[in-house]
Amino acid sequence: MGYTPNYSVIFNNLGFFIQGAIATLQLAMTSIFLGLLLGILGALGRTSGNRILNGIAVAYVEFFRNTPFLIQLFFFYFGFSSVGLRMTAWQAAVLALAINFGAYSTEIVRAGIEGIGKGQVEAGLALGLKKMQIFRRIILVPALGNIYPALVSQIVIAILFTSVVSQVSAEELTFVGSYLQSRTFRSFEIYFFISLLYLVMVWIVKLVAYLVQRRFFGFMRYVR
């Protein structure tokens, strides 16, 4: 006996899916923002020349990059609550995602900082540019342009990883899917549609990223 997919479950619950997608985007944006702050702090630690700060940053990066995100999430949600630090699923999700993103972005930002050529700054001085001009045009913008592609792909990965937090019942898109699936048993239709929603979100982010790159860092193609 064959199975006929029935997509009415999608149309009847469209509001649910949209709510889930919005929650996913909120979760992603909050944790990416916080994670980026952590990443900048981490990168400052890595490049500070101070052995202790560098050591802390290295330990942070290596630990969170070499353990699965699911374990980190369980650790924050179940582990911390068992020692008296209670968090809601949503708080634990944001915390775990931000710390995880911070570890990856530390290395990306560090590469950006280290990639700035000293000779370029000297060339700027020789041309008689003001200090602010040098900082903005020679240090900041090119450094951002250098790390931009790596940062965008890490952001895409972070959006996809928000799905994992459904495992501690944080209510986002994947959680909506599991909930509807348990009520309607239309697993194929639901999970396929949700996969497409993630794909569309990723495409939108990539498109925006591409437009931003062309607008702000377009000149960098000529530098290389």
């Binding site: 199975y3 582990g79 048993f185 999970y191 996969s195």
Partner: protein
Amino acid sequence: MQDFTLTNITYSLLLATRWTIVLSLIAFVGGGLVGFLLMLMRISPVAWVRLPSIVYIEFFQGTPLIMQLFLVFFGISVLFQINLSAWEAATIALTTYTSAFLADIWRGSIEAIPQGQWEAARALGLSYFKQLKRIILPQAVKMSVPSTVGFAVQVVKGTSLASVIGFVELTRSAASISNVTFQPFLVFSIAAAIYFCLCFPLSLLSKRLERRFVFE
């Protein structure tokens, strides 16, 4: 009733680690084979050969691994009316996931080979596949080793998500043990330490290979 001491917990977790390792190896070997074919399709000069691999890579890189596991485990079983075990579902989902990323990594190394190498090979009268096999691949493989090893870390970590469909590996067994012992802090710390011991050497190796490649 079994008593859960620290050694007891660690021992049980280490036993479960076997399945994490086995699943990682299966995913990596399977993903490598499928990924190689995908890569061949992706660099093909023929558009209709390229297209399916582009769609495949885009889909599996653009959707969460957890969704892919659900799609295979729950979705395929209702669609084709076959019951997949957690083993089979995890193998399929992790293989497709790994293959999409490896295909992209390897395509990158092949595209990094200067066009002149292809032209020189063609000028020697080699067929397309001989150009690939004798001239391009040997150089590209060398270049792709560091990132391939680096991706192995992602695969090991990815196997932890197989726990969501009931595959009993390290993460799943840590969750069960923590439910029984009410010591999640301890249990997940040990599990994290075990994962670290699996992944960190691979990360170090990847970094070392990369450095060696730069100096060559």
